[in-house]
């Protein structure tokens, strides 16, 4: 009995670890050329971080995507962080449209990708459907000390919207829903 309990605990622990160690570039590759190929569907100002987030989606899946359905298998969503333009005192500047003004300086590239079966490797308390995550630097190299627990826990707050904050919302607005 004691042995069974020990094995069970070890399995749970291993599953928990696997939940986060699977995430990263081994699964979610850097989408080379995304700025030319992908669809820029939104930008999100993040004034407290002096950042503007450029949101891209893979074009092959975007044409098939519907607000009422989970994103198609193979969907890739990218969040590319740009530093905002600031004035001499360090305050963010605004464009004529009232939005933060992005610079060309990219700080982080976050990628989430959905492949059938990927979620099976994660414990239920962690799983984000079949989505997985990776964190890249501007040169396309993986961020060495990337942590993904925050990705999984935060995106679980949108389980009812296929685990994303902006893309399904974009589709809903596009379809008038």
């Amino acid at each position: 009995m004691h042995k069974i309990v020990v094995i069970s605990l070890a399995s749970v622990f291993a599953a928990g670890l696997a939940g986060y160690t699977l995430a990263g570039p081994d699964r979610v590759a850097f989408p080379s050329g995304y700025t030319e190929r992908f669809v820029l569907y939104n930008t999100v100002d993040r004034p407290d971080r002096k950042t503007i987030r450029f949101m891209y989606v893979s074009p092959e899946t975007h044409t098939k995507a519907k607000a009422s359905e989970p994103a198609p298998d193979g969907t890739i969503l990218i969040m590319e962080d740009h530093r905002a333009k600031v004035d001499a005192s360090g305050g963010v500047q605004f464009g004529s449209d009232g939005r933060l003004v992005p610079t060309d300086q990219i700080t982080n590239i976050f990628v989430m990708e959905k492949r059938a079966g990927w979620g099976d490797a994660y414990p239920p308390a962690v799983r984000n459907g079949d989505w997985d995550y990776a964190h890249y630097l501007p040169d396309g190299k993986p961020k060495a000390d990337a942590k993904f627990d925050g990705c999984f826990s935060c995106h679980r707050n949108r389980a009812g919207r296929d685990f994303n904050f902006t893309y399904t919302k974009y589709l809903m607005d596009r379809e008038g829903k």
């Binding site: 569907y41 939104n42 930008t43 999100v44 100002d45 993040r46 004034p47 407290d48 971080r49 987030r53 305050g91 963010v92 605004f94 449209d97 009232g98 939005r99 933060l100 935060c154 707050n157 949108r158 389980a159 009812g160 919207r161 904050f165 902006t166 919302k169 974009y170 607005d173």
Partner: protein, 105 residues
């Protein structure tokens, strides 16, 4: 502690406190109140976290998309509306927290 954070949302800049209209939006009980806000360009929105847990204000409406970040209990975030249109608000942490803002010219 009551902290006032002055930020920007979709055409909103640091508030001076002397705008035409101020709309205070509470978060108690995990709900924005009021859930529908009608405002004019130049008005301010004051998000008051009068709840016992942290919340957030995100709009993902294209043209207005802004994430104001985590807002701890007791804090306020003030933004000024600089652009007409309509956008939805939601809490990143609590999916059920929603509101809608309509900004008239």
């Amino acid at each position: 502690m009551r902290a006032a954070i002055l930020l920007s949302i979709a055409g909103i800049v640091l508030a001076s406190g002397s705008h035409a209209g101020e709309h205070r939006i509470g978060m108690a009980g995990m709900a924005y109140a009021p859930a529908t806000i009608e405002a004019k360009v130049g008005d301010t929105l004051v998000f008051v976290n009068d709840d016992t847990q942290a919340h957030n204000v995100l709009t993902a409406t294209v043209g207005f998309s802004t994430d104001l970040g985590k807002q701890d209990p007791g804090s306020e975030t003030t933004v000024t509306l600089r652009k007409s249109g309509a956008f939805d608000l939601e809490c990143v942490i609590h999916e059920e927290m929603r509101a809608r803002v309509v900004v008239r010219p």
